[in-house]
Amino acid sequence: MAYTAEISRTNPTCIVFLVDQSTSMTDPIGGEVPQKKADVVADAINRLLTELSVKCAKEEGVRDYFHVAVVGYGATVGSAFAGALTGRDLVPLSEVADNPARVDDRTKKVPDGAGGLVEMSVKFPLWMDPVAHGGTPMNRALKYAETLVAGWTERYPASFPPIVINLTDGESTDGDPVEAANSITAHATADGTALLFNLHVSASGGSPVSFPDSDADLPDSHASTLFQMSSPLPSHMRSYAASQGQKVSETTRGFVYNADITSVVQFLDIGTRATELR
């Protein structure tokens, strides 16, 4: 059965984030408090990298269960890591954990336990900054991801298949991306074919279409294209999505259309959910 490989240090897997950095990412995202889409996406990825680091932390430090790449696409296509990791593509998680570009101090209001609120300062590590400039060269980004995926499957033939997560707010400006997407999912390890999940970030608000199993309810051909590009969720991600209150079926795909802030975070959580970390 596919997608059951144990993820371990000797048999790690890779996650490639493709982040849309086109000009339109400066538009506000749907949600309670308006925020720029680029800010929300960068925040979600930074938070996820912290989360992955904590999840893979053991006595001796962070274990390299994952190698992670963050690829931006807009005016250029390439690594979106800032700081010490600038220019790197797949980086072992232990190195990611130790090398954020900087650690911001953010203040948060929390309940003081006596019915009031109190300000609390928390450290927030950052690996990438929000960028929004240029077109949406999705084809080039997907092809870049394909080279990473191809290299990975050759290097770790027994691993849990690579996961590519594409976060975008618009249509590809360098041609139909379906074929480039198919090329990614044509790569495979002994445990199954590479996974490609797509997240469309909303500009308009409106309710998101999360993890659909057909494109019947999608509003336009652009949404259908992204749906068709997306891999079905492996069973462990399906059950996790269900436990998070998502409606899923056997053919549910890793795709969210018109995502608001909450669904961005949840999508990344579900899409990077590992089978079993050992």
Binding site: K123, P125, T193
Partner: protein, 722 residues
Amino acid sequence: MAAAAGPFRQFPTGGEYSEAMQNTHLCFRHPELKGAVPELTKIHTPKAISGAFASVFSLTSAASGRRYAVKCFTRHIPDQEMRYEAISKQLVTLDSTALSQPWKMGFEYLPDAILVGAERYPVLKMEWVEAVTLSAWLDTHHHDSAAVARLADRFSELAADLVAHDIAHGDLQHGNLLVADDGTLRLVDYDGMYVPALSGREGTERGHRNYQSPARGDEDFDSHMDRFSAWVIFLALKAVAADARLWAQLHERHGEYLLLAEDDFKNPSASSRFPALLAHRDQTVRDLADQVRSLSWQPLDALPPLPSAPVSAPTLPLASAAPHSADNGSTLPSWMSGHLPPVSSAPPAEDPDAPPTSFTGRRALDVLAAVLLPITVFVPAILCAAGVLASLLLPLPLTATAFLTWAAHRTRSETRLLRKHVRALTKRRWQATHPDKATNELHRQRMEFDSAETKRKAELTRAQQELLDRHQREVAAADSGKIKKWAAIDRKVSSLDGELRAAMDQALATERATFVQEELRKARIATARLQGIGEKLKGSLAMYGISAAADFTGIRLISTNSGGYASTTALIVKTGGREVNIKGIGAAKARTLDAWRQAQISAAQSRCTIRLSSARRQSITSDFERRRAQHSDERRKAEADAATQRAQAQQRLQDGRVRLSAQDAAALRLAQQQRQAFAQRALQIQESQADLDSVNASLAEARRIRRALSHARYLRFALTGH
């Protein structure tokens, strides 16, 4: 607090706990934890040690200076508080002095202890244990055989403590067994522990996959659930104690297992690690390995506990009594380990390619060989001895029989299977000893495949473009055909108006001519006053059939010149064209007659209508309307034809696209399978190096079988059937 503690409460993530721990004076209320100092990572955030269901933080109390391990849960566990209470109560009853070693760790379950966001969650506050995990300890101590042997005994004592109190840990593994400086064990992580008070409930986890029986399920939650993992750990410790090299040989650096892992238990016959233990020179190692193998698919409650006394070979409690149906090893010899695919989660099954180790079932050919053999040996010998046969000819029948038995032996299914098996093994040994060549070959095939894929995709794009081009041509042709037809129809329609007018004029002219003709018939010569034409002449005219203006159409005057006298003859042209010369009608009278006729015509014409009758008009117009309608039908038909052609073209495009994308999808599926197969092979090459030993062992075993299937054995079998 935390009213939402229903059955499916969402718990914070490890990252959220880590964030909360940055302000321990805010997140904790417990006096020992409030303001406690967490251990930090390199980037100065609280350092977590995470498992599947929880993250543990090290906190040093600001109040007492004591160090704690604080476990924060990332997943809802049913009846968690009740379970911990039951476990705590049970552990408190264990008298520490009665235990084999101080393995029991104190803990305190604190409900609503930590504030994350706006809600409070429970934590488990535990003593901090200064000890190293079993795997880390083995990394540094595996050469110290005496220490490892002592630890094996410590472990069996710990297991005996658990059995004695009807307790099971649920997840015995290298990360939950810690070794303290004095060489005694500590058992940590009691999340999945079973104590008698929890009887009848379900387990909360299934334990580490590399330590569990493939037969373990969720319903396995009782005092037997540690049995399999205990044997696995005990085997590893005893084996490393007997032969320290096994640690380097079978344990992969950073591997999350000791010597054996999940795949080995699921499919012992395909295991690359089992053979090294099953064929080990040390009897204890061999027997323990055989024991673990035989326990793999047995129900957990049928497994024996670890032997309490030091193990002495070869009497093990259940190894020999294990039912053969569950004991894969009894039907699959160890040499097969190099034969089955290395990664397979299928339940163990007999290898269809495996050669049997003896001949069974004689064929007609075997019987023939058996009959001929004595005849060709003894009969010629007797004949020869009797001098009947020249000894020179003796080898002939012998040779023929030898050839026959050779062929019969060679065609036996047993020997064929053996040859196939040896070929496969030799190939694997070649792979193992020539990894570079095998890898290069794989790389070459991969490149070839990739370039074929690239070509196929380019071809697909071309076919798609061609389809689209053809579609556009077809649509354009349909449109231009329609436009041509329309132009022809429009021309016909626009000439209709002119034709209508002409038809009207024609009809009017005919009507008028008919009227004039009628009037001329009514103009009788007899009643007309004509200068110089009297009754007599009128009578002559009547005799020639000219009695009304309608009876002639004009006159013709012919001048003749005879004998110098010019004279003129007047001819009257009758209706019908005949000309008559009537005596008495000369040129002058003829002219009078003609002028009268002309006057009659003029008079009739002036009386005649200048408009067509409305009935006539109606009839002509409706005729033209019919033709007009016909043209617009033709116009519509041309439009409909073009629409049909466009629709057909669209359908062809659609069909073509469906066909291409089905082809593409099929090719992609094949590509996925092919790449998966490449990955499998790469894996095999990697693993074949690791299992070179087992391949060699399998080859040795195959050689042994070859002896069992030798020609001599075959002859015996042909003769005796055994």
